[in-house]
Structure formats: C-alpha cells, structure tokens
C-alpha cells in the first residue's frame, strides 16, 4: 500500500497567507495602475490576421503597409507560423471612403504580393462597452451563484471562505495578465468563469471533508481537522490538477494561436486554485472560529 500523506499544512498557513495577501495586493495595484491590455472585444477596434506566402515580406513591410491610413494606434506582430501576422488598430468605425475593403486593397497594392486575409474582426465602440459590461456581470453573477450554492450546502463560514479563495485566484490570475501585458478578450472571461468553477470545485472537496471530520472528531481543534482533511484529500487534489493541467497544456502547446491566451489563463488559474483551496480556503475557517459546535448550531437554526 502506498503511503498516507501526513504533512503539517496548518503550520505553514500564516506564511502562506502573508504571501497570498502580498500577491493579491500587488495584483490589485497592477490592475489599478498598470491596467489591462484589453483586446478589441473590450476596447473596440479592428483586428486583421493575414498570411503572406512571399519570403521577401518582413514585419516592417507589413507595418508600413498599414501606416499612413489614419487607422489610429497600430500594432503588428508575428502570429504562429512564419508569414502569419496579426495586425490590430484602433479604428472602430468605417465610412464610405475608409473601410475594410479599401484597407485590404491598399495593403495588397503596397505589398505587391498575394495576401490571404485569414481573419478580420471589427468591434464598434458601443458593442465593446456592452461586451465588457456583460463580461463583468457574468463574473459577478457566477460569484454570487457560487456564494449562494455553498451557503445552502454548508454554513456561512464556508461560503465566505470559498468566495475569498476564488477572489484570490481570479485577482492573481488577472494580475499576472496585467504584469505580462497579455491580451484580455472574451475568451479570458470564459477562462475566468471556468477558474471560478474549478477553484470552487477544489475547495468544495476539501470543505466536504472538513465538515465530515468535524463531526467525526468532535473534540479536535479546527487546526487538526483541517490538517487531517487536507492530507486525506491531497492525493485527489494533486491527481485532478495534474490531469487537468495535462489537458490544458496540450491545448496551450498544440491548440493553435487563438487558444493560447485562454489556455494560459486556465493553467495559471488551476495552479493558483489548487493552492488556494489548501492555503486560503482552509485557514479562513480557522479564523472564523469554525468548530464542531458552530456547525451543529447552524444546523439547528436551519
């Protein structure tokens, strides 16, 4: 038989919490002062992905082909394979003179080679504001729904603990996106929502065990119960994280450029979510003085 885990997690809670608080604060500062690199979904603007087969075309040629058209802030980068470029510019609304058709024609003329326009996206100012708002509403609603579900299934201390853990995960993930200036678009909202679900999932498994053990060892302290519970579920926590990361890693490496940001956000979120269910969600129960008595009292009230 394989060994049972028996680490002393509770001893490390204080240190871990200080680190967590530090990272959350740094993330908040970054998000507020450095801000996020919003993609055209949320900022409005135009994105063009194109492929040129000719070897003579360099990134500077692409850039100059798009300049002098009064398209606003212009960003050109190589995208995946050689000859593939992603061009983003500020221009949100077109008219009869300057429009996607005229831009395409002008670029083909200036480059003088065949250009394959693989993807064109344009988001107007009104739509981008709406998309950003509905993204934020979705994330808030998801958090609210989680809070509500856990509140029904567990006691309020658990509800608060799991929500703080989720905030921790989401804030740090977004903080990492801010410091690395990674693009935040619609798929990142999807990733954040999935992180919320995953982190919750991970926390619930440990909480379930803590509650079970609280009634089983009614005389033990919450410290001991948390420690036992975390150790008992540790094997599962690690295995599930590993299989999820294997799947996500496969998307990140092989799934193509479009899914890169999405899978990266998920990978970061899963790692932090796994950490937080052990080192954030569990200590909060201790700080809230959860004990066998407190959960029995709650049960009686209901």
């Amino acid at each position: 038989m394989k060994k049972e885990y028996n680490y002393n997690f509770t001893k490390k809670f204080k240190m871990a919490n200080l680190i967590s608080i530090f990272f959350v604060l740094i993330s908040l500062i970054l998000i507020i002062f450095k801000g996020l690199n919003f993609g055209i979904d949320f900022k409005g603007g135009t994105l063009i992905e194109l492929r040129v087969e000719s070897n003579n075309i360099k990134i500077n040629d692409i850039r100059s082909a798009f300049s002098n058209m009064d398209l606003g802030d212009l960003n050109v980068k190589e995208f995946g394979k050689k000859g593939d470029y992603l061009i983003k510019f500020e221009k949100k609304e077109f008219n009869k003179v300057v429009n996607i058709k005229s831009i395409k024609e002008s670029v083909v003329n200036k480059l003088g080679v065949d250009v394959n326009f693989r993807r064109i996206e344009n988001v107007g100012p009104k739509v981008s504001t709406e998309l950003l708002n509905s993204g934020l509403i979705a994330i808030c609603l998801a958090l609210g729904a989680m809070l509500f579900y856990i509140w029904i299934r567990f006691e309020w201390q658990f509800s608060l603990g799991s929500i703080l853990a989720i905030f921790h995960d989401v804030l740090i993930t977004i903080g990492i996106f801010s410091i690395l200036s990674l693009e935040v678009n619609l798929s990142i909202v999807a990733a954040v929502l999935t992180i919320v679900g995953y982190s919750m999932n991970d926390t619930v498994v440990i909480y379930d065990r803590i509650r079970e053990n609280l009634s089983k060892y009614s005389s033990s302290t919450i410290d001991d119960v948390s420690n036992t519970s975390i150790n008992e579920t540790l094997s599962r926590t690690i295995i599930t994280s590993v299989t999820t990361l294997l799947a996500l890693g496969s998307i990140y490496v092989l799934g193509g450029e479009i899914l890169k940001g999405f899978s990266l956000a998920m990978i970061i979120g899963v790692i932090i979510g796994t950490y937080s269910s052990i080192f954030v969600a569990s200590p909060i129960l201790k700080y809230l003085r959860v004990s066998y008595k407190s959960i029995v009292k709650e049960d009686e009230k209901n």
């Binding site: 038989m1 049972e4 996607i100 394959n116 693989r118 993807r119 064109i120 996206e121 344009n122 988001v123 107007g124 009104k126 739509v127 509905s134 993204g135 509403i137 979705a138 609603l141 998801a142 729904a145 989680m146 579900y149 856990i150 619609l186 798929s187 909202v189 999807a190 929502l193 999935t194 679900g197 995953y198 919750m200 999932n201 619930v204 498994v205 379930d208 079970e212 008992e232 579920t233 094997s235 599962r236 295995i239 599930t240 299989t243 999820t244 990361l245 294997l246 799947a247 996500l248 890693g249 496969s250 998307i251 092989l254 799934g255 193509g256 479009i258 899914l259 999405f262 899978s263 998920m266």
Partner: protein, 517 residues
C-alpha cells in the same frame, strides 16, 4: 452500491449505446431521420462572417415627430388652445401656450384614446413625452416610443435583409433579431462579406419627382445630379416610390448600349406614372435614390404600360446591385455594422486540425497518466472516460449543437476534469480499505457512497459557472459553455453508472484479494 439488477445494467448500457450511436451520424451521409443529425461547425471553424447590424432610427424619429405636427396643430385649435412660436428642433416639437391652457393640453394629451399621443398597450406608456418650461411646451418621443419605433424598423428590416442576402445566393444564412434595434447576420462559408455589407448599407429609398424651374426653398429641394454634376431643383412632391415597384432587372440600353435598370410597376404605380408622364411631356423627371439624384431624364412620351428604365452612368455590376436592392425593397432606416467577425476557410480548417490534434494528445496523456497511477482501476477510469467522450459527442450531435474552437477546448477540459469523479471515488475507497482491510466489498460500498455527495457538489459548482457563461457569452465562447455543461453531465453519468458497474465486477470477483487499488 455494488449490486446492480439486470434491468439496471441493461438500461445503463442501452442509454450509453443510444447516445454514443449518434457520434456516427456525423460521418454518415444518410438522409435517414436519425442519421441526419450532425454537429454544426461554428463560423470560427468552417469560416464565414458574423455581422451585427444596428438600425439607426434617428431619421425615423424625425419623420415620426414631423408626422405629428399637422394633427397636433389641428387638435390645439379644436381644443381652443392658443399656441405661438410653433417649431421643430432636434426631434422636439416646441410651442408656447398660456398658463391656464396647460390643464386643457394635459387633459387631451394624456387621454388614452387620443389619436396624436398614442397609448402603447404593450409598454403601458405613451408614445410621446412632454415637459413644461414656463410657457414653453416640449414634446418628444418617450423611451418606449423610441423602442417601439426601433422594434418595428427592425422587424421590417429583417425581411428585407433576408431578401437581399438570398438574392446574392448565400447558402444557409442565419438572420435573427437581437435586442430592440439590432439584427445578427451569420453567413457561413462566405469568404468576403464586403459585397453583402455594401448591399445592406444602402436603404434603397427610391422616389420619382418632377424637376421644377422654381428655385425657391419652399416645397423644393436642390440636388446635384450624379452623372452630369448639374444643379437641379426638385419638387418635394413624390410621384412614385420604390414601394410601387414589383420587379427590376439590369439591361443594356438599345441605343447606346449603356447598362440601365428596367423596372415594372404595380397597378397603382402604373396609373400614377401614366398620369404624371402624360401631363408633363417635355419636362424632366428626377430619380432620387437615398437622397442622391442619380438622373433626371426628359419625359418624351407618356409611360402608361407600367414599365420604365433608369439610367445613370451605371456599370453592369452597379445596375445589377441597384436592381437587386429595388426588387428586395427599401429599408425603413439605415443599417450600420457595429460588430464584424470574418474567418477565412483555411484558418477554420487550421483551427479544426489544431483543436482535434490537441484533443487527441491531451486525451492520451490523461489515459497514460491514469494507467500509471491506478493500473487496473486506471483502465476502468479510462473506459469511463472514453464512454464519456462518446456520449458527449453523441449529445452534441443529438442537440445539433454548434461546435466552436473554444468548444473543442471545452471538450479537452472535460477530458482533464472528468477523471476527477473517478479519482474521488478511488481515493475514498483506498481510505476505507486502509481502515478496514479485511472487507473489500464494504470498503468499496462506503467509498462510493461517501464520494457521491462530494462529486455532485463539485460538479454542480462548475455547471453553474458554465450556465452563466452560456447566458452571457457571445459567439464562439458560447460553444465552450455548451460543451463544458454537457461534458459535466456525461461525466456524472459515466462515473456514477459505468465506472461503478465496472468496479463492482472486479470487486465481486476479488473479494479476498488485499490492496486491490
């Protein structure tokens, strides 16, 4: 938990077989009712264009306010209300009345049966709102009045948009209403939406009016002729509009071989056109399209047959487009593209290839990991994982869901997270075995029972998140929510029934063996 009745076993595997059977209908060409179902590929995978159009109702609002002017003046006189300085400014009617007439005004204006400020039953509010500023009355469209105007404009526009797109021969377009003032157009397989965008960007409001010599502003408008740049004065009185047209086709003029548009009028149109042309022989008739004078030919004969032509420096392409627009009717208000996403077919194929490749690799990584970690029970987890995947694809086919690139990511993620349920069960059984080494059956029984609650809790939370994403997500992201949600449900089924049954077979055969997991 280890005992399954025969009926239960049959039901479990039957439902598994039925659902996963639909995977195959994706690769069959049969037209059979059951095999016809297929997973739809999203625009990001098959290539195509997504256009979100917004109706700009400002001109409609202006027209609506203008239409109120004459009846309102009449009503004020009828009710003995003295008004002065009556004018229209930025979609607002302004006039002054005496202090003691205000009550009279409010009485008729807020009467639910008045025919000027119409009461909108479905919104429980009036079409117009008003405010008093001292003696000044300001009348403007209410919030719901604008919504109603937008809604009816969108409803009318959808039909015309559909006609125009159908005329271009685009296959399987999807055209739906979004909110009160938007239309979502999805054009699968289209490479270049520019022509369609151009066609949808024109309202195509056509009118025939007489050119006059009268240069005064009143009742006349000045236009610059498109073909000759000549400045002409045109009467505001409309003889005919595009509504009177029943057909229009591009043709070459018999005389100078120039492309022209030949049109046919309906009966009412023919009569009016006949009268106007017979009375005005020798005068010029202006053809106005979207506030632009495209030509102003001289009337040589009375046109009574209801057939005529429009010339105006057309190319054959522009004559074809104009005919198409005239055939499909005028849009009530201009449409503008507020969001556009176009994916070329080769990028779509690349995305499918990359998505499927990463799915296969991710799947094998997880399978190998589980075998290494759990050996025989890893095999069970893997069988349950494969059946999970088959059922997931089966369900997507059954629902004819739309698969997008993030949707494929959702399937891969499901693969990664699906083993969680099995892991929870196996780990729990291991624990029970440690405590109660002698009795495999009891340990398995307890292990399953205790882990079920946790599995449910854990999956429901993820399900909540993905349902919210489904409601709020747009486009491809919605596809992710679909696969993730269905994946969670198939995961629960395969863990709770299939792995449990397979585990029970092994446990019952090895009652005495120690350290089974």
């Amino acid at each position: 938990m280890l005992n399954f009745s025969k009926i239960k076993i049959v039901l479990i595997y039957l439902s598994f077989l039925v659902v996963s059977f639909f995977c195959f209908s994706n690769i069959s060409d049969s037209n059979n009712f059951f095999l016809k179902k297929k997973i739809n590929l999203g625009l990001d995978l098959q290539g195509g264009s997504y256009l979100l159009l917004e109706v700009d109702s400002t001109p409609l609002q202006k027209r609506q306010i203008q239409s109120k002017v004459i009846p309102l003046k009449k009503k004020l006189i009828e009710k003995n209300i003295n008004y002065k300085n009556f004018k229209i400014k930025e979609n607002t009617i302004l006039f002054e009345i005496n202090e003691n007439d205000k009550e009279k005004f409010e009485k008729f204006f807020k009467d639910k049966n008045n025919d000027i400020n119409i009461y909108l039953n479905q919104y429980r509010s009036f079409e117009l709102d008003y405010v008093f500023e001292k003696n000044l009355v300001k009348i403007f469209l209410s919030k719901n009045g604008i919504i109603k105007l937008n809604t009816s404009a969108v409803d009318q526009s959808i039909e015309i948009v559909r006609k125009r797109i159908d005329e271009t021969g685009t296959k399987e377009p999807s055209i739906i209403k979004r909110g009160s003032n938007r239309i979502l157009v999805e054009l699968p397989g289209i490479k270049d939406p520019e022509r369609i965008k151009e066609l949808l960007g024109k309202t195509a409001q056509l009118s025939f009016r007489m050119v006059t010599d009268d240069k005064t502003e009143f009742g006349n408008e000045t236009f610059i002729l498109k073909d000759t740049q000549e400045k002409i004065s045109v009467s505001k009185r409309i003889i005919l509009t595009g509504d009177n047209l029943i057909d229009a086709n591009p043709k070459y003029d018999n005389i100078n071989q120039e492309p022209i548009v030949a049109f046919t009028l309906n009966r009412l149109g023919s009569q009016r056109f006949g009268q106007a042309t017979s009375k005005n022989i020798g005068k010029r008739l202006a053809i106005i399209l979207d506030n632009e004078a495209i030509s102003a030919p001289v009337i040589r004969d009375a046109i009574t047959g209801g057939q005529g032509t429009i010339s105006g420096n057309f190319t054959f392409q522009s004559a074809t487009d104009l005919s198409l627009l005239l055939r499909s009717g005028a849009l009530p208000a201009p449409l503008s593209v507020v969001e556009e996403r176009t994916v070329g077919p080769d990028l779509g194929q690349d995305s499918i290839d990359a998505g499927v490749f990463s799915l296969i690799i991710g799947f094998f990584l997880v399978i190998i990991f589980m075998i290494i970690k759990y050996r025989l029970f890893g095999l069970i987890a893997n069988i349950s994982l494969i059946s999970n995947l088959l059922m997931l694809i089966g369900f997507l086919t059954l629902l004819e869901a739309t698969l997008t690139l993030p949707g494929i990511a959702g399937i891969i993620l499901t693969v990664g997270m699906a083993v969680d349920a099995n892991v929870l069960i196996f780990e729990r059984i291991k624990e029970e075995l440690r405590k109660n080494i002698s009795n495999n059956i009891q340990a398995f029984d307890l292990g399953f029972k205790r882990s079920v609650v946790t599995i449910l809790d854990a999956n429901i939370t993820t399900l909540i998140a993905s349902i919210i994403l489904f409601i709020f997500g747009s486009g491809p992201v919605k596809g992710f929510a679909v696969t993730l949600s269905i994946g969670l449900i198939t995961t629960l089924f395969s863990a709770y029934f299939i792995s449990r049954h397979l585990t029970s077979i092994i446990v019952l055969r090895n009652r005495e063996k120690k350290f089974l997991i």
